[in-house]
């Protein structure tokens, strides 16, 4: 028995070398297997959520993502919606984009100055936070607009059928990314 245990130790120790080499050689395959086995993905809080609408303005286009409220175990009271404009070379100096987050006619306009990256709003509803996060990529501009979920009452939330939040609700495939997928930019 003692010999068997001793041999197990040596066997496990001897196996670490081929295990290490195989892992280093097949890292990519092992990673993909792990992703598909556990359905791993990037949190929408970092990926920005799935794109639910793309508006083509001719010279440039706008990608509007679904509102993201994802928390650790459920939805959070605060979240954001991400809007991207690209390509950076064709953007006008002032960009105006109309957004209807919940499809309840509470439309507001987000205005981006692509020269200095400042963002302002027109008809800003109460559930939109004041200071958005703005980022400049080599492909364009992206803005994350803070949202409050608790601002709406229960009836309003249940009545959400249209808008960008509704788009994600109507299309379950947009609720979560497929394993291993990430938003392309």
């Amino acid at each position: 028995m003692a010999l068997k245990i001793k041999n197990t130790g040596y066997a496990w120790a001897a196996l670490t070398t081929p295990a290490m080499i195989l892992m280093l050689m097949y890292n990519e395959n092992l990673s993909r297997a792990l992703i598909s086995a556990f359905g791993l993905r990037i949190s929408p809080r970092f990926s920005g959520g799935e794109i639910v609408r793309t508006a083509d303005h001719g010279r440039y286009r706008t990608n509007i993502h679904r509102p993201v409220f994802n928390g650790l175990t459920g939805d959070r009271k605060t979240g954001f919606i991400q809007v991207d404009w690209e390509p950076v070379t064709s953007l006008p100096e002032t960009i105006r984009e109309e957004l209807d987050i919940y499809g309840n006619a509470e439309k507001f306009i987000v205005i981006l100055n692509s020269a200095d990256g400042t963002v302002s709003y027109e008809n800003k509803p109460f559930y939109v936070a004041e200071d958005p996060i703005v980022s400049h990529f080599h492909s364009g501009w992206a803005v994350r607009i803070g949202l409050k979920k608790g601002g709406r009452n229960k009836e309003e939330r249940e009545g959400d059928q249209g808008g960008l939040a509704g788009a994600a609700q109507r299309n379950p495939s947009l609720q979560s990314q497929k394993p291993g997928e990430s938003r392309k930019r």
Partner: protein, 363 residues
């Protein structure tokens, strides 16, 4: 070793340009020369350190070069949350494990696989490295520990002795930052407190918040990674603060390797206690003949033990038996890990230095 290290370093093909070829030749020769010396002399730590200490500055050169290549005008992580191809480091990985276990999502602005230091690719490396080496990861694979180790070797004697209770701080650090990261859904330690961000980040002029953050990281870096290791002659950041180090202490239990002290051969001189860079050995653990869970298997105590009592050991076998076999069985996976993980960083940094010298640019 010669064949496999060539395969691991060349990654299946010889580079096309001269700088990368030269870097490959230098790295291959250095790594194999060190391995042969390790085998020939029977010493471990001094040769490991010759590869491990330069790994940290080389990582800074390699990483910064890659980031500037990737993000062009915005080399710094000003808008951390927007980055989609941000490489993940193993320390940050430890912060994302709790949310990943609960939601199957990673709270990190990177890619799952297919890019440089992608999240799941790093996870696979971490799982295998931990299963095989345990906390040996911290002495053979970590690309930050070289800073501490390098500075801890500056003075011949410690300036002062750090209190022993500091050894438990990494466990508190791991618990605190894992819970904070889970609560805020943000890798708190990485963004706010990681000292090595000082040498892997550039503050942009127009973003004051990031500039202040970088200054904070710089202060933490000089305190925890430069000053403390010099003064206490230990790997202070790794021993007192690193949350990944604490995690490795736990997962190290599944590794078949450990360092033990043969109590019959031990003269009780305490050289191992004074020399251990991670404060793994205490009077109590010495009496038990064990180095405890904090041991990173650097081999310093094995090299310095005057009575030859400290030795590499395979769990479940008798203490003191098959010392050389245990050392060999440990050195091979550890060295392959270092060659593949650290060797690629060595090569990339050396090729950038060659380019800088001959062309004036690093990429």
């Amino acid at each position: 070793m010669l064949v496999i290290s060539a395969f691991l370093l060349a990654n299946g093909g010889i580079p096309r340009d001269l700088a990368h070829r030269l870097a490959l030749a230098i790295t291959y020769t250095t790594f194999n020369a060190v391995f042969i010396l390790m085998m020939y002399t029977g010493k471990t730590d001094r040769f490991r350190a010759a590869l491990y200490v330069p790994l940290a500055p080389f990582f800074t050169i390699s990483f910064m070069g890659r980031m500037i290549e990737q993000f062009h005008a915005h080399p710094a992580f000003v808008d951390f949350v927007f980055r989609e191809k941000l490489p993940i480091c193993p320390i940050s990985l430890s912060m994302t494990l709790v949310p990943a276990a609960l939601t199957r999502t990673f709270f990190w602005p990177g890619m799952l696989t297919g890019t440089y230091a992608a999240i799941v690719s790093m996870l696979v490396i971490w799982i295998t490295g931990s299963l095989a080496l345990g906390r040996g990861w911290c002495s053979w694979g970590c690309f930050f520990g070289g800073w501490d180790e390098g500075f801890s070797r500056v003075l011949s004697k410690p300036f002062f002795k750090a209190p022993a209770w500091l050894r438990d701080l990494p466990f508190a650090s791991l618990l605190l930052f894992a819970l904070l990261s889970a609560a805020t859904l943000f890798p708190v330690y990485c963004v706010l407190f990681c000292p090595v961000k000082a040498v892997t980040d550039i503050p942009p002029e127009h973003f004051m918040k990031a500039a202040w953050m970088w200054r904070l990281h710089l202060v933490i870096f000089f305190a925890a990674v430069v000053a403390l290791p010099v003064l206490v002659k230990r790997r202070a950041q790794c021993a007192y603060f690193c949350p990944l180090g604490a995690l490795q202490c736990g997962v190290g239990c599944v590794s078949p390797f450990e360092v033990r002290i043969d109590t019959k051969a031990c003269s009780g001189c305490g050289t191992c206690i004074r020399n251990c860079p991670l404060l793994a050995i205490t009077e109590e653990s010495l009496a038990r003949g064990s180095c405890g869970i904090r041991c990173a298997k650097c081999g310093k105590c094995v090299d310095n033990c005057p009575s030859g009592a400290a030795h590499f050991h395979i769990k479940t076998t008798e203490p003191g038996a098959g010392k050389n076999i245990a050392r060999l069985l440990f050195l091979y996976p550890a060295f392959f890990f270092m060659t593949a993980f650290g060797g690629s960083i060595w090569m990339d940094a050396i090729s950038r230095i060659i380019l800088l010298v001959f062309t004036g640019r690093m990429f």
